[in-house]
């Protein structure tokens, strides 16, 4: 691979890392859910600096073109990121359901207390 493109990619990756870091610091993004992205960028930086890693793995796995290996690898990492998001959404969805139910039950209890208070008032 051409050194120029590798430098450009490295610069883009570093900028992305800093941008993500600042968003986490501003609390726009949660660190927990951004960790997978940090990992992806880190891996891409390592491959950018040491492309022979990809050549090694592609010959190990019997893949003809190293660039195919790169795509496969990137694809798998993206699937991992999407999976972590799926887990997070499922958890959030459960929590929202629980909170909605508790709120509704609390409101019912409140109404009943109000009714009780009104009937007590009427009787005095």
């Amino acid at each position: 691979m051409n050194t120029n493109i590798r430098l450009v990619i490295l610069a883009i990756l570093l900028l992305s890392l800093i941008m993500l870091g600042r968003q986490v610091k501003k609390r726009t993004l949660n660190l927990k859910h951004t960790l997978a992205w940090f990992f992806l960028i880190l891996v891409m930086m390592i491959i950018d600096l040491f492309p022979d890693i990809i050549v090694f793995f592609s010959s190990l796995l019997g893949i003809e073109l190293p660039s195919n290996m790169l795509f496969l690898f990137g694809y798998i990492l993206l699937l991992v990121i999407i999976y972590t998001l799926t887990v997070a959404i499922s958890k959030l969805s459960n929590e929202i359901r629980q909170m909605a139910q508790k709120m509704a039950l609390m409101n019912k209890e409140l109404e009943q207390l109000k009714e009780q208070k009104d009937t007590d008032k009427e009787q005095t």
């Binding site: 870091g21 610091k25 609390r27 949660n30 927990k32 960790l35 940090f38 929590e95």
Partner: protein, 235 residues
């Protein structure tokens, strides 16, 4: 001077009554609040049957979310001092006045009860001590401060930190990250030596696999805290 003891509790039915009774019999000017983190055992019933001062969270938030709830309560009710006190019997009530005196006398923003200054009492497991040593060095590098027990939950804070934490407090493994955050803002953090007991009953919430995730996540969080300028408090 209003002082609040925040007791985060998740499935502490074995210990919670003893902890609160210990507080009630040994302190006079501290209020307390139990934060029930959606326990699945009968922690809630035990507290309600005994008329304890309790907040029941509708979903499980973890230690960070529970303690932050306590800080919000402290802020809303005008407390000047808030101290985190674990519901499992590890912390000792006798240190509360010592911590409060130090906070006020030395004009600190936070006082941490450290197990590792005098190295007495329960010293925790090897894995944990390794992690704590690691964070001691990391925090020293990024802030210059020597925090011997950065994961200690036994911490007392003043009004200005109560307001900061009520709005912004990490959700999991909050202790090291939050210390770095306020140190970067120029706040004064000091430690006093304490003796902690071993957990009296129930189960701890950090397991071995979680420890590795913990160390990675907290290290990254500390490094992220170092982005942007640090503020120095103008006194």
């Amino acid at each position: 001077m209003k002082k609040l003891i925040i007791i985060p509790a998740y499935n502490e039915s074995d210990n919670i009554l003893d902890t609160v009774n210990d507080i009630l019999s040994n302190t006079t000017d501290f209020d307390y609040i139990v934060i029930n983190d959606c326990s699945t055992d009968n922690t809630r019933e035990i507290c309600e049957d005994n008329n304890l001062n309790i907040i029941n969270l509708p979903i499980n938030l973890g230690i960070g979310g529970s303690v932050q709830t306590g800080y919000r309560y402290a802020k809303d009710n005008g407390y000047d001092i808030a101290v985190q006190f674990d519901g499992d019997g590890q912390h000792d009530v006798r240190y509360l006045d010592i911590m409060a005196d130090k906070l006020l006398a030395d004009k600190c923003d936070m006082v941490i009860g450290s197990r590792f200054i005098d190295k007495e009492g329960y010293q925790s497991s090897f894995m944990r001590r390794f992690g704590i040593g690691f964070f001691y060095r990391l925090i020293k590098i990024v802030t210059g401060a020597k925090i011997t027990d950065p994961t200690s939950g036994f911490r007392m804070i003043g009004r200005n930190i109560i307001e900061i934490f009520a709005n912004d407090y990490p959700k999991d493994y909050p202790e090291p990250e939050s210390v770095v955050s306020i140190l970067r803002k120029g706040m004064k953090v000091e430690e006093i030596p304490v003796i902690m007991r071993e957990r009296q009953g129930g189960i701890s919430s950090i397991s071995p696999w979680n420890s590795i995730y913990y160390m990675i996540k907290v290290s990254i969080a500390i490094l992220v805290e170092c982005l942007g300028k640090s503020g120095k408090k103008v006194s």
